[in-house]
């Protein structure tokens, strides 16, 4: 996996909540048996008009969003289908970092990212950053005032900096294991296979008698 340490790139915004993986990569593009070729189809149904032209109204098609590698969006991004094709599409489109708010409403919390999607991002070296709603609102407001702006993500330092005229720097939380995995770009399967003896020992005592065909 491609390691992630520091990254600087243009920022795009997608001001919608609950963007599901069917939107990120519609099913008609999921028949490929490779891991490549998905970037041009990312957000297909929003990005292209029925005649195949770019829909100029779609946020990612606007001039200031071209070449973006950092996406700021809303809560529950990547919900729905477990398709990793969605992350391949996002990464091949050019995004390395996604930012979304954790929305607290009374005693419940709406996370920035859906579980399976966030896991899939991690496996592909795409960093998901969850910030509080007020901070994300502030980032959206700053981007609205200055639509063409860069951001720098420093993963070891856990900081996100939006380089608007008045820069905004925020710290973000990340689980230490996730952070380590991203920075090192570890081959997770190789890591698990280092525990091969433990797995074999476990298999000897784990009763799978009724899990094998009789």
């Amino acid at each position: 996996m491609e390691p992630f340490t520091q990254h600087t790139g243009w920022v795009a915004t997608l001001n919608r909540a609950n963007v599901d993986t069917d939107q990120i990569i519609p099913k008609q593009f999921m028949k490929l048996i490779t891991r490549t070729g998905f970037g041009k189809h990312a957000f297909n149904d929003w990005r292209y008009l029925p005649n195949g032209d770019m829909d100029k109204n779609f946020e990612l098609n606007q001039e200031h969003a071209q070449g973006a590698s950092v996406l700021i969006t809303r809560n529950n991004f990547g919900c729905g289908s477990s398709r990793e094709h969605a992350v391949w599409a996002i990464k091949q489109y050019g995004f390395r970092t996604l930012v979304a708010p954790r929305v607290v409403q009374g005693d419940s919390t709406i996370p920035g990212f859906a579980d399976i999607f966030r896991n899939n991002c991690l496996k592909n070296g795409v960093l998901t950053i969850e910030l509080d709603t007020e901070t994300v609102d502030k980032l959206f407001a700053a981007m609205s005032n200055q639509p063409r702006a860069e951001a720098t993500i420093d993963l070891p330092a856990q900081t996100f900096t939006l380089h608007t005229k008045t820069p905004i720097q925020v710290a973000f939380d990340i689980d230490p294991a996730t952070k380590d995995q991203l920075i090192q770009g570890l081959d997770e399967i190789a890591l698990t296979l280092q525990s091969d003896t433990d797995i074999t020992t476990f298999e000897k005592q784990h009763n799978v008698q009724w899990t094998a065909k009789t």
């Binding site: 477990s82 797995i199 094998a212």
Partner: protein, 470 residues
């Protein structure tokens, strides 16, 4: 210490907890389908890794396959390449495949239980988010991405962080015409499409205990629509009856069954165990539910109206506006005024035999409205055979429905079963996302009975007050 059911299953499958706090969780069952697996098998080939436990890995094709007469001779070359890749991968790596010509083929989450692969206390994964279905048996079952599919193929383990626990009590008894589908839609409406994210939901309460296994599967299936990777129901006599009553080739028998039963009895949340979150939902006055928007949390009573823009908890007015623009609906419109073009009865949510019986009971002796196209797609070849043995196929066909072959079909429209732009569908599936059933298509999620009644009337009706209900 008192444990929840989830914690008991988790503890039985911990291989080790690494220094970084990540647990290696052992996987008892790995289900594989054609769409999310080819890149995983490629990964194995690139690294020269074998499948660690091919005998615990089971494959079928369901997502992209035709459900019409072209089933065995797929016309779409890209879909065919994906199906062929699965065949070749299963052969190369020694994985059991339920191919298109098998009488046990079907939607992966429908054949797992049918084959006796889905058993209490097991861990089950699949590269499909509706793997949560299998939780109905008291299994810990969740969807994974393709990298994780490769991980399980190579190691039979997954690095996992333990989820939080969320107890969902459904109290009271359902009224006639109200079903498991309405219960789970109601829950998603209450807690939102991300209300379960990070949790394993344990469904309990009087209403759950009264449900059949098939209805319990409908509930667990849609856990992911509330954001929860897994939903779980403690096994009981209903579970045992399901596992032992039919010929389920992989289910334990004889002494192995007795041993299994001893374990299964312990698979209950202990008295005094604590959950991170709890909710009670009284179902005694629950009415049929219907989604009106493009997120499963956008749901209301069928007797209700399309809500006002600012009256939807958990969704901003602008998100509701976008949704209604897409759906072609206006706030205040009674749901029973909404006319439909297509009815889809199928999917891993609602294509088991009981679902088809419920739909057939509505269709019996009636006709699909002339303005409506209705598809009935059985979840598996076994469901299809059973339905035909009971004569349900004749009821559907005489009513004017299309009776199809088993597969995922119009739930996600990876084959030709798709909505056209602006077509409106009453669907028994699980997702009302934009374009899910076809680009520009408009999906309303409902129960099988509600879908059948809508097919007859050409618009949504409340089946609990419908004059035509027998």
């Amino acid at each position: 210490m008192a444990k929840t059911l989830f914690e008991k299953i988790w503890d039985r499958h911990v291989v080790k907890t690494r220094k970084d706090g990540v647990t290696l969780l052992y996987i008892d069952r790995h289900l594989v389908h054609e769409v999310t697996s080819p890149q995983a098998f490629d990964g194995l080939r690139e690294t020269g890794r074998p499948v660690r436990r091919p005998e615990l890995t089971y494959a079928t094709m369901d997502h992209n396959i035709p459900t019409d007469e072209t089933r065995l001779a797929i016309q779409d070359p890209i879909a065919k390449a994906q199906v062929d890749a699965l065949r070749n991968n299963c052969k190369e790596f020694g994985v059991k495949l339920y191919d298109l010509d098998s009488n046990q083929q079907g939607i992966v989450h429908i054949i797992g239980p049918e084959l006796g692969l889905t058993l209490p206390g097991t861990t089950i994964v699949c590269g499909d988010s509706h793997t949560s279905t299998h939780g109905a048996f008291g299994a810990l079952a969740f969807g994974i991405g393709t990298s994780e599919v490769e991980h399980v193929l190579a190691t039979q383990c997954l690095p996992q962080k333990k989820a939080k626990t969320f107890k969902v009590s459904f109290d009271g008894q359902l009224k006639p015409g109200v079903s498991a589908k309405d219960m789970i839609l109601k829950l998603i409406g209450e807690i939102g499409a991300a209300g379960g994210t990070g949790y394993v939901l344990e469904y309990c309460g009087e209403a759950i205990r009264s449900l059949s296994m098939e209805a319990r599967m409908t509930i667990c299936n849609m856990s992911i629509e509330a954001g929860a990777r897994a939903g779980i129901i403690a096994p009981d006599e209903v579970t045992l009856e399901y596992i032992t009553s039919s010929d389920r080739p992989y289910a334990p028998k004889g002494a192995a069954l007795e041993e299994a039963k001893a374990l299964w009895k312990t698979l209950q949340t202990d008295e005094g165990a604590t959950f991170d979150r709890e909710i009670h939902i009284d179902v005694s006055n629950l009415t049929p539910q219907i989604t009106w928007g493009t997120s499963p949390g956008m749901v209301t009573d069928v007797a209700g109206n399309v809500p006002a823009l600012d009256a939807v908890p958990g969704y901003s007015a602008s998100d509701v506006q976008k949704s209604l623009d897409y759906m072609g609906l206006k706030p205040g419109t009674p749901m029973t005024d909404v006319t439909i073009d297509v009815v889809f009865i199928g999917s891993c949510t609602n294509a088991r035999i009981e679902d088809l019986r419920q739909a057939a009971a509505i269709f019996r002796g009636k006709k699909v409205a002339s303005s409506v196209t209705a598809l009935v797609v059985p979840g598996s070849q076994q469901v299809k055979a059973q339905a035909e043995a009971e004569g349900l196929d004749s009821i559907f066909i005489e009513a004017g429905c299309q009776w199809r072959q088993s597969g995922c079909s119009m739930c996600l429209g990876m084959n030709n079963d798709q909505l056209k732009p602006q077509q409106r569908c009453a669907s028994t599936s699980n997702r009302n996302f934009e374009g899910r059933q076809g680009k520009g298509g408009r999906t309303h999620l409902v129960s099988p009975q509600m879908a059948a009644a809508a097919a007859i009337e050409g618009k949504f009706v409340d089946i609990t007050t419908w004059s035509e209900v027998s």
